[in-house]
Symmetry: C2
Subunit: 523 residues, 2 copies
């Protein structure tokens, strides 16, 4: 029997099995491979990439300490935050708060190094901290785009679509938060529709609103309907992503929101938003020191609100185009800087959030994936435990792209293999295979290959790996065109996870009642 035939038969059997039955098999032959659910999150098997030595890390930490002690941080419109700082012994002068070196580190010791975020389907709960890596969709763009219609404002339908795409991906772990802004819903009510959509169309973990204290509270209240009040008081079930108003200002809207999450024992993610040269120094070391100062202050405030509440150290570095003045993304300076921030977060023993797959491109083209891949790899190398913006972003964070979303989700799949590292055991070392095959012969049909080939290599659903002639005969598609077909097929195949009727009704009742109590606001 020819060895190649053996492999061919093996492949044929695999395909048959993969397509054989159940929901996964229904689309046999349509190119949408079955989303066998991967692990609920990744446990990394390669170390973090620590690019900076001890001496320089100490200099950055010392600079952050001096920024905190000498320049200080302003806390606006939040008297409770100021009184927390006073009680903790900070130097409060009007709105300006200064911190003795070491004070914030001491407060941060009560924050957990790792915690579980519970999903309504327990199989989808994720660990955030340590060696875990959780991929979540992009967050916050006002626009959406697809290959058919170009760019337009996002709607609640788009928002639901992206939840469905995330839920359908075996490689994303989290439903995210404001995947796009549903601009067709009033600003003061859309959080209710967004949280409901996450709970209804996904059974994975999700994020709530932070744009006003009541919206944060209402997001948490909806989680309580699903998970129960007592459970929520003792367990994290919702995240809130709050931004520093860099440089060195914490706005009351954000601190009220972060305190609402902490008070409810839910995890706030504390994220500076520093475009080098605008909201921080143009040099990376200074921007990183600033980020460390701002993030430590925000994280510490959660501990003053509720000691032991989970909190995530967030990172968002960027750069600026000197020609257009625009922010740039996926560039080398934030990529290497983020790995330094990872080192600093680990020295604080806090879970880390990084930004993932960024680009300034307006199309899902070569620029998009060059920048996106650069920034996404930086995020996983930095040791980030929660990678927001893992899928979908284009247009300098202004647009969610349907095509880029499925490309990025596919790349998240590749990263599962990458972060597994090189397995070393008797089977993988394959000494018996060398003895079997000997010199100058091929391994295609040997026993070792037959036993392992189905599981060893990542199999992209977007990449074209056919020979040129076959690719040409199949219509010369580019990746964007294949991604376009794929997201449509995925939405057509989507089935909502079950939710018990009473819970659904209670959520709908809460949303309607809360909406009815407010007048629409559109800005």
């Amino acid at each position: 029997m020819d060895q190649a035939d053996t492999v061919e038969q093996g492949l044929s059997r695999t395909r048959k099995r993969e397509r054989g039955g159940g929901r996964d098999g229904r689309r046999a032959g349509q190119g949408t491979a079955p989303p066998h659910r991967a692990a609920p999150y990744i446990i990394r098997n390669i170390p973090t990439y620590d690019v900076m030595g001890e001496e320089n890390l100490l200099k950055i930490e010392a600079t952050a300490d001096r920024i905190l002690a000498e320049v200080g941080i302003e806390f606006r419109d939040d008297d409770v935050a100021l009184s927390h700082w006073k009680a903790a012994g900070a130097n409060v002068d009007g709105l300006l708060v200064r911190f003795e070196p070491g004070m914030l580190r001491e407060i941060l010791k009560s924050a957990p190094a790792s915690f579980t975020q519970h999903a309504r389907n327990p199989a989808n709960s994720v660990e955030i901290g340590g060696k875990s890596v959780v991929f979540a969709p992009a967050y916050g763009s006002p626009f959406v785009m697809d290959q058919d219609t170009g760019r337009r404002y996002g709607t609640i339908e788009d928002f639901r679509n992206f939840i469905k795409l995330a839920q359908s991906s075996p490689w994303l772990h989290h439903s995210g938060g404001t995947i796009c802004e549903p601009v067709d819903v009033p600003v003061n009510k859309r959080h209710l529709d967004m949280v409901y959509a996450h709970l209804k169309y996904s059974d994975r973990c999700f994020m709530g609103s932070v744009t006003a204290e009541n919206r944060a509270k209402e997001s948490i209240e909806m989680a309580r309907i699903v998970f129960g009040r007592d459970f929520v008081d003792q367990n994290c079930v919702i995240l809130g992503n709050v931004n520093v108003n860099s440089p060195l200002v914490w706005d009351g809207t954000m601190t009220n929101a972060l305190r609402a999450y902490a008070r409810a024992n839910q995890a706030a993610i504390i994220v500076p938003f520093i475009l080098g040269g605008a909201m921080g120094p143009v040099t990376s070391a200074g921007a990183i020191a600033q980020a460390l100062a701002e993030t430590m202050a925000g994280c510490a405030l959660t501990q003053l609100e509720r000691k032991g509440a989970p909190v995530i150290f967030g990172n968002f570095l960027s750069s600026m185009s000197l020609r257009s003045g625009s922010p740039t993304f996926g560039t080398p300076e934030p990529a290497v800087g983020s790995m330094v921030i990872g080192q600093l977060a680990r020295r604080l023993n806090l879970p880390l959030r990084c930004a993932g797959n960024f680009s300034n491109s307006k199309l899902p083209d070569a620029q998009a994936m060059n920048e996106g891949t650069m920034s996404m790899l930086s995020a996983v190398h930095s040791g980030a435990n929660f990678i927001l913006h893992s899928a979908g972003f284009l247009d300098g964070l202004l647009s969610m792209s349907y095509e880029k979303f499925v490309m990025d989700a596919d790349f998240c799949g590749a990263l599962h293999s990458y972060l597994a590292g090189v397995v070393v055991d008797d089977n993988s070392l394959a000494l018996d295979a060398f003895r079997e095959v000997g010199v100058g012969k091929h391994f295609l049909g040997c026993a070792h290959t037959m036993e392992n080939y189905q599981t060893v290599f990542w199999d992209s659903q977007i990449a074209d790996n056919e020979p040129y002639e076959k690719w040409e005969a199949a219509g010369r598609t580019d990746a964007a065109t294949r991604a376009n077909a794929r997201w449509k097929q995925t939405l057509a195949d989507y089935q909502a996870p079950a939710m018990d009727e009473a819970t659904d009704e209670a959520l709908i009742e809460y949303v309607e009642r809360t909406k009815a109590a407010q007048t629409d606001a559109w800005y």
Copy 2:
């Protein structure tokens, strides 16, 4: 004075200076920014990414030793190689050579850990080894492609064009070798035209032929005409990239070529070509052990031919598509495996070659740059000193793409910034800037920004960083379309480096005489 105005004026001054005079200034306003020559090579300022622990590295090394001792390597059609091995104490049984554990490591101690490859313009000489990183174009594809005409066989004109594009890039360091096959020149003569083209159209370092012993010798002979016989005997001026006939066979064509390079004190690059599941085991650990065994044997043979000759430890791992059976590139398994190979090469104290920017895509699209960026970052993280295939490859190594070439060269520029790491000093920590700006104000016009903004951020010539509206107004181009315009402009702007007439005439005379002595062979 408004701060933003200050920045605007500063930017305007910069642009004027950049475009002001000389050759660099001629294309002002045409979007082809001046290629101010970067450093002749990179000295990395971030550590290598060591993903595997000591225990597993030892297991892989032990497996390589057992492959060498128990299975052995066949040396075909090269009696001199066999007699070298006998003299060195290996177990030679017919063509099969087996090696006691440790024997090859002992022989390899005479190889230099680092050496200089000299360019005909001394400013372009490169160091290969230690912390140096050298980017060279892709190598060996029979086809070329561009956006206008699609895929076609490569010609000597294409070959010259790619040399000109490489020479014009401030971010590539090396002219490479068989950038594409010039299929319009007879197989047995094209090496003469290729080496002449490298010497004539570039003044950077280059590679010679390895496809037959006489072609290797003639390549070296042409280098002697330019550099002088004595200089070449004492210094490396040409590289030869030789492939193992994996698994575990060294073909006489390759060993004769590698011995020709070593005998002339020129550097052979020793590269296994392992597609997991075909020329090696389907599991990475076994493929890496095999690569180590094959590469050590090839490197050691250079030392038996001439003790102390420079030699480069080469790496080429790949994977296979289980659906098409095609080799795949830019996938996660080789990316993480290459970093392990980097660790193994450093433990041998040898310079490392990795493959760079790979893709299976047939277009310079999102797939191309996702895969390319993944593999290129792996190469730089692995600690590779010489990165072949840094620019141009598409179509699973079968095609050189003009558009991808300039995209990749641009990404090589980004990697200059990335490998510089985060600079930490008083200026970059920017404490004075924090004191000047204070809380809640922007850094756009502060003294620190004005002093640093021109140099801190990588400025891509391919990426579009304009706002959406400006991008739309400018014609909604994708990266491939911008790259298309860029390579044409670069070729139009190209000026050959000076070469003295006598040398040029001597080269031409040698090429003509050598060609005349042989009948054309087309296969």
